[in-house]
């Protein structure tokens, strides 16, 4: 039972990490008023690129850089579509997402089904050996802690920094920001690029630390969960963190309950994480006023720059 608790706790933090990275990127993108639905493809490309680098003998640092680059390149394609061509954000996001999924297959083609040694867990001696909490808090891979740092940094950026205020202003009213002289397109581009880098890193966390193997379809819908998480967390980094933990915990609980032999049909248990997502979304939407307070007003709307 103790082992099971330790597994749930450690597993939840690990499972949430790839989601956290991508969600921290997406929240900044959405706060700038742009909806990027291509996260799934960005994560897949980052995951494949990082895996290929390590499987070919490269270092973890190089793998992370390449993954970030993969996400960046794809997000630049998205940015070009929505900021330069003024394409519809939903359609452009979906297109880039599909492009990214295809690219990931191409990148990982020669490495299909291969495995690598995962990033080493940190070892703090006695602390890491503590029952239940040892492995969860003091024995994770460095990516897990980096994910938490990312949440803190993004929270600080959005709520405490001047640049964050500008990003939010652009997301609330791009025409007003434009009128007082902010380069709306440039700011949105920076946000999209940041989102791409973070999604690429999120994918890399998956293949380098969480599931250290590559197979087509490995992302398995996580990019969509990220999009849901940002809404779920009402565009607030702290709540998104809670959402990611909740999702991780419920998806592991399903497996643990099955092993215990709980008399609930396994198909229902498999649907549990998604049912919980729907339930929480329904709950937080009960008060539409509060949701509207958090949601960037011009989210998803194309901004036509002044002539």
């Amino acid at each position: 039972m103790i082992d099971l608790l330790a597994f749930l706790l450690a597993g939840t933090l690990a499972a949430a990490t790839p989601l956290l990275f991508a969600a921290m990127g997406e929240v900044v993108v959405e706060k700038s008023g742009v909806l990027n639905l291509g996260i799934e493809g960005l994560m897949a490309s980052g995951a494949a690129a990082a895996f290929v680098v390590v499987a070919s003998g490269g270092s973890v640092g190089a793998a992370l850089s390449i993954a970030a680059l993969a996400g960046l390149v794809l997000s630049c394609v998205f940015a070009a579509l929505v900021l330069v061509c003024l394409a519809h954000q939903v359609a452009a996001g979906l297109a880039v997402g599909i492009l990214g999924l295809g690219a990931s297959v191409q990148i990982g083609k020669a490495f299909e089904g291969r495995t690598i040694a995962p990033i080493a867990r940190i070892d703090l001696g006695a602390l890491s050996e503590l029952p239940v909490i040892g492995r969860a808090f003091f024995g994770q891979t460095p990516t897990v802690y980096a994910g938490l740092v990312a949440v803190a940094l993004v929270w600080w950026f959005l709520n405490r920094s001047r640049a964050g205020l500008v990003v939010r202003a652009v997301g609330e009213s791009p025409s007003a920001a434009d009128a007082i002289g902010y380069p709306v397109a440039l700011i949105r581009f920076a946000a999209i690029a940041f989102g791409g880098v973070m999604a690429g890193l999120g994918g890399a966390c998956l293949t380098l630390a969480y599931t250290p193997l590559w197979a087509d379809g490995l992302i398995a819908g996580r990019g969509w969960i990220v999009v849901a998480l940002v809404v779920f967390g009402a565009w607030r980094p702290g709540r998104i963190l809670l959402g990611a933990w909740l999702f991780g915990a419920v998806s592991l609980l399903e497996l643990a309950l099955q092993g215990v032999g709980f008399a609930i049909p396994s198909q229902l248990l498999s649907a549990l994480p998604y049912l919980v997502t729907i339930a929480v979304l329904a709950l937080i939407s009960r008060d539409p006023r509060r949701l509207r307070l958090d949601q960037p007003v011009s989210l998803g709307k194309t901004h036509v720059p002044r002539a």
Binding site: G113, T115, L213, D216
Partner: protein
């Protein structure tokens, strides 16, 4: 001519290559065999073994065959389109590598009586439509014996995709094998409800290990996901389809290898000889279609002898893994003492034997 197109969209290009290839070598007049795999042929796994069958055909029949391979074809309209393309461009035989290709394949077989089909895991038959399956329960029983020997907690964890009869049969055979050498052994199953989700498979294995399983049985996972977790956590693991020793050098207990080479070669030869018949192939150890590989050195000489004795007895037909008395979970006797299950009962198995702790989802 070995072709591995990048993806399904390349099928059109392929078709052209196929035509030019066929006309270029008219002198030898080779037959063309199309292969459709449900997943990419990686290092190990289901599609890898299908592709090894393809390689064996080319090896054995040399210039008499040409191959066209399309990997990672989802069941449904995509598969139908790709087989149609193969058929319209002059394939003589088409290998369909997944259960879900069955109905589309059968439609095509009716429209093209000159093309012969071999189909994995299905049950439909026609004059030009054969199906093939393996008796993986045979190797599952033998590997289960090894598991029964090495388990200390008497708790075997299994990671399985869906509760279909074939997988239920494997769970039963494995559990029966384990209990034949260790009556206290029990097993439990986590159903993934997905054919392909490596992360979830890994977490399932971790969850089972956290709950006390010290042998893990990875059922039809096309990647070494579960096997690598077992190696990392230091518990024994048995897997299906391919030998995954290299992914768990210290903790692989056994691999349940499948081998389509002889069957594919025989079928291809029958197409060349114009003697193809639509029949059902249920290949076991006696046919060389199923075997136990990389049996762990951690077994004692005596234990190894028992497992190898079982394999020999299954191969020569003197022992059948589903021999009564077999009791199901509710305590009801399903097979009387001394009787054995027939093939029809094995391929439609929908009950779990005593000793499996998990209930079937229904």
């Amino acid at each position: 001519m070995i072709q591995k197109p990048f993806d399904r969209l390349a099928a059109a290009v392929l078709g052209a290559a196929l035509l030019s290839g066929a006309s270029a070598s008219l002198a030898a007049d080779p037959i063309t065999i199309g292969y459709v795999y449900p997943s990419p042929a990686g290092d190990v796994g289901w599609a890898r073994e299908l592709d090894n069958g393809r390689a064996a055909v080319e090896q054995a029949l040399g210039e008499n065959v040409e191959s066209v391979v399309v990997e990672n074809v989802p069941e449904g309209p995509d598969a139908a389109r790709i087989m149609n393309q193969m058929a319209s461009q002059g394939a003589d035989m088409i290998m369909l590598g997944s259960f879900g290709y069955m109905n589309d394949g059968m439609k095509l077989a009716k429209r093209y009586p000159d093309i012969d089909f071999i189909h994995a895991s299905g049950y439909l038959l026609a004059d030009n439509f054969s199906n093939f399956q393996t008796r993986n329960y045979e190797s599952a029983y033998a590997a289960g014996q090894a598991a029964g020997y090495v388990t200390d907690s008497n708790d075997i964890g299994m990671v399985a995709a869906y509760a279909i009869p074939e997988i239920v049969g494997l769970i039963n055979a494995f559990t029966l094998g384990a209990r034949s050498v260790n009556p206290d052994a029990t097993s439990r199953v986590v159903w993934l409800n997905s054919w392909f989700n490596p992360s979830k498979a890994q977490e399932s294995a971790r969850s089972l290990i956290a709950q006390g399983s010290d042998v893990i049985f990875s059922i039809y996972q096309d990647t070494p996901s579960v096997v690598t977790v077992a190696e990392e956590e230091g518990v024994y693991v048995v897997n299906t389809s391919s030998d995954m020793k290299s992914y768990a050098p210290n903790h692989l207990l056994a691999s349940m290898q499948i081998d389509w080479s002889d069957y594919f070669v025989a079928k291809a030869q029958s197409v060349i000889d114009d003697e193809f018949v639509g029949d059902a192939f249920f290949g076991g150890m006696a046919d060389g279609a199923v075997s136990v590989e990389s049996l762990s050195d951690d077994l004692s000489a005596e234990q190894r002898q028992t497992v190898e004795g079982t394999i020999a007895a299954i191969t020569d037909g003197s022992f059948h893994p589903f021999t009564g008395p077999l009791v199901d979970q509710s305590g009801q006797t399903r097979v009387a003492d001394g009787e054995t299950l027939d093939d029809a009962a094995i391929t439609s198995m929908n009950w779990l034997v005593e000793g499996v702790q998990t209930k079937l989802p229904n």
